[in-house]
Symmetry: C2
Subunit: 164 residues, 2 copies
């Protein structure tokens, strides 16, 4: 299967992965969350080449994560802001940041501290069950087939589980 | 900056992005969470070419996310299991899945339903403040410099914010 077909898999990880499909995209999103809107800032803070920044911004606009708006007419210049869909990625990025802080901090402590403005404490982002508020872990979650599943994939998986 | 230098940035998103640096890695991790351990299953369920599966499994072993163990000696065959570091990614993947379910389900409903076995309900994974348990959103979080920050980057960012 070609990489550009990943997004056609009936799977929300695959569809998300087709949007966030490389490290530069994650860095561009990080900068958008920090408030960068202009090409030069995205370039300076990600360390990416102009062609990379340009390509990733376009992809994120096409995916509906960023929206582009004209801020100067002569010459035309655009800025890029997170859409609602893009802002909804912020909690996901915070959970990922905590994983990085926990496992990849190189002993130096977290580079960045996120404060929850409502309570004034460090956010310590935690993924919990929306029903009972207990933390979700690999020990307490079971996956099953949903409405949007692809029947062929379901059959193939069931067969593999039987063979284990 | 070269892509392989992303992981040297003093930033937990960059360090995480250097591990989860393409869509195939996310699909391999999805399969590992679902219980795949063997090369053939990773290949069948991600749709990736053997060389891609082999490369990504090696990278994830090198990063400490998967561990490799011999399950057959003649010929030598290996299986791949999530380490504790790898299992800690599961909540992050669940939060990402919810984002995909919300914004990329193509109207067909979620392909997969995760059940929280402790309470018996759908997980509805929610990223909350570990201190007060309120949901974290782009509206209620403020970032500031942490112990592990790089002083040059901090100065550069402060300058950019002044110019906005």
């Amino acid at each position: 299967m070609l990489k550009n077909k990943i997004g056609t898999q009936a799977c929300s990880i695959a569809r998300s992965a087709a949007v966030i499909d490389d490290a530069w995209v994650l860095l561009i999103l990080r900068e958008a969350v920090f408030g960068s809107r202009r090409f030069g800032d995205f370039m300076a803070f990600t360390g990416a080449q102009p062609s990379v920044v340009s390509d990733r911004l376009k992809r994120l606009v096409d995916a509906g994560v960023l929206e582009q708006s004209l801020y100067d007419e002569h010459p035309p210049r655009y800025e890029y802001r997170l859409t609602e869909m893009g802002r909804d990625l912020q909690p996901v990025l915070m959970a990922l940041t905590k994983w990085g802080d926990t496992h990849l901090d190189a002993g130096g402590g977290p580079p960045l501290v996120d404060t929850h403005t409502s309570c004034g404490h460090d956010t310590d982002p935690t993924v919990v069950c929306g029903h009972c508020a207990e933390s979700l872990t690999s020990e307490n979650v079971r996956s099953s087939v949903g409405l949007g599943a692809d029947p062929d994939t379901v059959a193939q998986r069931a067969d593999a589980v039987r063979r284990r």
